[in-house]
């Protein structure tokens, strides 16, 4: 089947899609967007987290046909051009990236959290990231990165959040 979807603001089309394949497969293998990672394929790890119509979901659990005509934002679309979103910059600055495999999913989850709640409690941060597994960092640096991003976003453009 043919799948047409708006991905990161641009219309993407894929032909000869097997209807049972996942949105994750379509994004990575048919649309040339390998940012979302394929790890568990069962919704356990969150490394394929993308926005589907504005809501974070595991792309591995969305059937390709269900994504037809929908709006999708992947990690590649969090910031325009070559820029980094403050959440992405905070992950780098806080040392929250090691092997990097979980990072795209964590970025989307953290981006969504801070869009809904600019100053989340510690418990809210942990809950928002509960669906994303990281096997390198022990999570502490990731939590630091989310706090740093929240502070910088609160300080506004140009603010250093210090």
């Amino acid at each position: 089947m043919r799948i047409t979807a708006t991905v990161n603001g641009t219309t993407h089309q894929a032909d000869d899609v097997w209807p049972g394949e996942s949105l994750l497969f379509v994004l990575r293998e048919r649309m040339g967007l390998p940012g979302s990672k394929n790890a568990c394929e069962q919704g356990e790890c969150g490394s394929c987290t993308v926005y589907l119509d504005g809501v974070p979901v595991c792309a591995c659990l969305v059937a390709a046909g269900q994504a037809d005509g929908r709006q999708i934002v992947t990690v590649e679309g969090l910031a325009a051009g070559g820029a980094l979103h403050p959440v992405q910059q905070a992950f780098i600055d806080a040392g929250a990236v090691q092997c990097g495999f979980c990072t795209p999913g964590l970025l989307v989850a953290a981006h969504d959290l801070l869009a809904r709640d600019p100053s989340p409690s510690e418990a809210d941060v942990r809950e928002a990231l509960a669906g994303n597994l990281c096997r390198c960092t022990g999570y502490e640096k990731i939590l630091d990165a989310v706090r740093l991003a929240a502070a910088r976003l609160a300080a506004g453009p140009g603010g250093d959040g210090a």
Binding site: G20, S22, E41, V57, C58, A63, G65, E127, G131
Partner: protein, 303 residues
């Protein structure tokens, strides 16, 4: 593989009737795992995410009608659409159960109808639906019917739906008293219940409702425990006095709930552990529910 994507309930029921071999697909949190791991290759998928009639909920008299396509995130209120945050307050037991499902990503996708369709003995909504005496609304081209939740689960991952039927809604009696839910797992997120328990106290109808998850081939009620507790509450005038629960009642209730379970040993836990855990969960949730009931009485007294 065919991909059927009806855009109305009428189209969906017609497709269901014409393709009884098609697997209904909503949030995909169960079905897509089976497809990804090649455990299942259905001849067709029946996508229900474009059927508007399955979304949303409304309260009608003493019943809350929850559309089959309502997600766990809508049940908890964490991601309510269209100012529907009230659903979590209206059905607190279901909100508590939904809150224990998977992760935010899973709760954003998974639906109450899908939970019932999969009919896993570990389905998190099921104990609460059993305890509250809910009904499942099923529809086909032949018409609509309501299946009492007690008759819905027929075996491990089996339910009472006919091959041409779809789940359209769940009808939940609006709570008249406290509801509690508790679930045991190895962490808070991404956990399939080792054991789960729900309790509903209805002071108006003097009814006690229970539901056990992950400790029998299907989700089950603990009917003897319900009778025991309802008898104790009525006999000692506790519904009216809202006095403290005798320790012995709490303990016996836990034991009766445990006795109603018929668990097995599996990778998540042993039968013995589940039996013990259920006694603890039942006593504990009863304590919480009774605390809520007493607090509500004090509040009403002050008002």
């Amino acid at each position: 593989m065919e991909f059927l994507r009806p855009e109305s309930l009428g189209e969906a029921l017609a497709a269901r009737a014409a393709h009884p071999e098609a697997v209904p697909l909503a949030g995909g949190t169960d079905v897509m795992v089976e497809l990804n791991f090649a455990r299942r290759r259905p001849a067709a998928l029946l996508d229900l995410t474009r059927v508007g009639e399955l979304t949303g909920w409304h309260a009608d008299g003493g019943t809350v009608r929850v559309g089959a396509g309502v997600t766990y995130a809508e049940l908890t209120g964490e991601r309510a659409s269209g100012g529907q945050t009230a659903l979590g307050r209206l059905l607190p037991g279901l909100a508590m159960a939904a809150r224990t499902v998977g992760s935010p990503q899973i709760r954003n996708r998974g639906t109450i109808g899908g939970n019932l369709g999969s009919a896993s003995p570990a389905g998190d909504c099921h104990p609460v639906l059993l305890a509250s005496g809910a009904s499942v609304e099923a529809a086909s081209v032949r018409g609509r019917r309501q299946v009492p939740i007690d008759d819905f689960f027929t075996g491990v991952k089996r339910n009472a739906l006919a091959p041409d039927e779809l789940i359209t809604a769940v009808l939940v009696p609006a709570p008249g008293g406290p509801e509690q839910f508790a679930k045991i797992g190895t962490r808070n997120a991404m956990v399939i219940a080792v054991a789960a328990f729900a309790i509903v106290l209805d002071p108006v109808r003097r009814r006690v409702g229970t539901g056990i998850g992950s400790a029998a081939p299907t989700p089950v009620r603990a009917v003897a425990a319900e009778r025991l507790l309802a008898g104790a509450l009525a006999g000692d005038g506790l519904w009216e006095s809202r006095g403290p629960l005798p320790e012995q009642v709490v303990t016996e209730f836990g034991q009766a709930v445990s006795a109603a379970a018929s668990p097995i040993d599996d990778v998540r836990g042993t039968a013995g552990y589940r039996k013990q855990a259920l006694a603890v969960l039942a006593s504990r949730t009863l304590g919480w529910a009774w605390r809520d009931y007493r607090a509500a009485g004090q509040q009403a007294g002050r008002g």
